[in-house]
Homo-oligomer: 204 residues x 2
């Protein structure tokens, strides 16, 4: 097998696994099911992954890459304002969820919810993904503040963390209501209000 075809097989297993795990959860997915979906024999799986845990860790990297690529694509769209880039990133997900009947949710959020307590290696890997996403958001928020688009007394790191978590919670609610309304409320409150507010009272 050439290096390219080996890479293809591995990517194929990850892609197929990513979809199944996204729909059913990690513990609820059997290796057999992934092999069947990818059309590869058992030995092939164990050639690329030491065990299911190793597969799960590489799956987190796979999901993370998709997410970070998308965020980077939006961050590079200089025809938009800094805040417009961040808003565009979320808006694209709203469209995706509308097309797929609000299914699946965020694969990183799902993994975090399911595995955060069960596997320390998963937890640490997932935490790193959130840190990377958050730091890209801080960068955009700082740029937006400089451009006068954000007018809030809150620190960018707190705001970015809060926004990221609120988004995850909105996705969870979308899964339960099978409606993108929670995502739209998120957009309204965060981009329409939170980032443009000033406290009426002076006490903190």
């Amino acid at each position: 097998m050439t290096r390219d075809s080996r890479q293809d097989t591995k990517t194929c297993i990850l892609k197929v696994g990513a979809e199944i795990v996204h729909n059913k959860g990690f513990n609820n997915t059997g290796i057999q099911e992934i092999l069947k979906g990818a059309g590869v024999p058992k030995g092939s799986f164990y050639f690329y992954f030491r065990n299911k845990e190793d597969f799960g860790l590489q799956l987190i990297d796979f999901y993370a890459q998709v997410l970070l690529d998308k965020l980077e694509r939006f961050a590079a769209r200089t025809e938009l304002s800094p805040l417009g880039r961040l808003q565009g990133f979320f808006a694209e997900f709203v469209e995706i969820f509308e097309r797929n009947q609000c299914r699946g949710g965020c694969p990183i959020g799902n993994m975090a919810q399911e595995m955060g307590d069960l596997n320390e290696a998963f937890r640490v890997r997932l935490q790193l993904v959130f840190i990377r996403v958050q730091s890209m958001m801080v960068e955009l928020l700082d740029q937006a503040r400089e451009a006068g688009e954000v007018d809030s007394g809150l620190q960018s790191s707190d705001v970015a963390g809060f926004i990221l978590n609120s988004w995850q919670g909105a996705i969870l609610q979308m899964k339960v209501t099978k409606s993108t309304e929670p995502l739209k409320i998120f957009e309204r409150v965060v981009f329409g209000e939170l980032l443009h507010f000033t406290r009426k009272t002076s006490e903190m």
Copy 2:
């Protein structure tokens, strides 16, 4: 068996199951494990629950009751202001999570994340729980607005939904970071800022 002892056995199975599922997830928990923990024979489980799905649905009711009882207890604390009651409800959870090393998260949120796409009966039951929690929160927010504690142009129903979802996302992040810092950022942003803000600019 008397009616009381029957009820005891059922409650015991639910309590033991609630703890295991809270730690490991629903699909990841076997009936055998619950039976062993509760010290009851298999026949006993199927006397009270038609199957694992029926058990899961009753487990949602069990979790919901704990949550709603707590919220009702805070809503009845008239020595606190309306906003103080809502804030106290969240603050109690922060203390609980601090004591238990940020483990478990919200059992209703976990179930929603795990089962929202997989089982329509679960999804509908979970949606009803969120609706009940949200409507109790709307009531407190309306009272807080009347008392002049909330000063925001946002509708109480939107704010309540947004707060509830942001809280769920903060819990998810807590599970990943193993720190209550995301919950404290939630408290700071929501109770310190969001509910007391007025938009600086006039355009919406």
